[in-house]
C-alpha cells in the first residue's frame, strides 16, 4: 500500500511544479517528487529484501544535493536580474 502513498506524493509534487508561481516553491515541489521516488524504491527494496533499492536511494540523495547546489545559484542570478521570484516574468527565456 505504500506504493500508493509514493504515487500520490509524486503526483502532488508534479502538480505543485505546474500550478505554483514562486520559483523556490517549484524547486521544493521537485524535491518532493524525488522523495516520492525514494519512498517507492525503499518500499520495493523492503518487499524484495534486496540492497539494490537502497543503492539507488543513495544515488537519488546525491542527485538531489547536486541539483539544489546548482539550482539555487541559478535562481539567485535570475532574481538579481529580474527582481522577482515570479515564474511568469521569466517567460522571455523561452527564446
Amino acid at each position: 500500500m505504500l506504493q500508493f502513498v509514493a504515487a500520490s506524493l509524486f503526483a502532488l509534487g508534479l502538480a505543485g511544479v505546474i500550478i505554483r508561481r514562486n520559483v523556490l516553491v517549484m524547486l521544493m515541489c521537485m524535491e518532493l517528487m524525488l522523495n516520492a521516488v525514494n519512498l517507492s524504491l525503499v518500499t520495493y527494496a523492503h518487499a524484495m529484501g534486496s540492497t539494490v533499492g537502497a543503492v539507488l536511494v543513495f544515488l537519488v540523495f546525491v542527485v538531489a544535493t547536486a541539483e539544489i547546489a546548482v539550482a539555487i545559484p541559478i535562481v539567485l542570478l535570475l532574481v538579481r536580474r529580474k527582481k522577482t521570484l515570479d515564474i511568469e516574468s521569466f517567460s522571455d527565456l523561452k527564446g
Binding site: R21, M28, A64, L85
Partner: protein, 175 residues
Amino acid sequence: MSGFLASFDTILLWTFAGGALASAVLMLVLRQPMRVAMALITCMVFLGGVYGMLGVHFIAAFQVLIYVGAVMVFMVYAIMLLDPRDETATARYSKFLWPGIIGFVLLAEALAVGYWNDLPQAPRGPAGEIFGIADFSKAFLSDYWLHFELTSVLLLVAVVAALAVIKENRRQERG
C-alpha cells in the same frame, strides 16, 4: 503482547505515511515560501519515520541528515535571502492551475490503476531489519562501485557548475 506491538507498529507506520501526505497537500496550499519549506521538512521527517518503521534505519538517518540537515537548510537560507525583496511572491497559483489539477488527477489515477493491476504485492506491514548497513555497504562498494564513482564525478560537475554561476554573477556586478 507481540500482536499488540505489531499492530501498534502498523498504526505508527500509517500515521507517518498519512502525515507525509497531509504535509505534501499543505505544500500546495500554503502561501508563504517559508511555510512551504516547513511543510516540506515535516514531510521529509515523516518519510524518515516511515523508513525507520520499515526497518531500513540507515536510510532514515540519511534522510534526516542529508535532506533536512543539508538540502532544506540551504533552501531556507535561500528563502531568507531572496524573499524580503519580493512582493510578487505572495501570489499563489499560476495560470496553469486547472491544467495542473487535471494532470494531477489523471497521473494519480493512472499510477493507482497500474499499481492495482500489474505490480507485485506491497509488504504486508512493518517487518524487522531486512538488511543492515553492512550488507548495503558491501553491495555498494563491490557490486555497484562504478555508480559510486559516477556519483563523485557528478558532485565534481556540480561544484564546477556552481562556481561558474557565481563567476557569472560577479561579472554582472562589475559590468
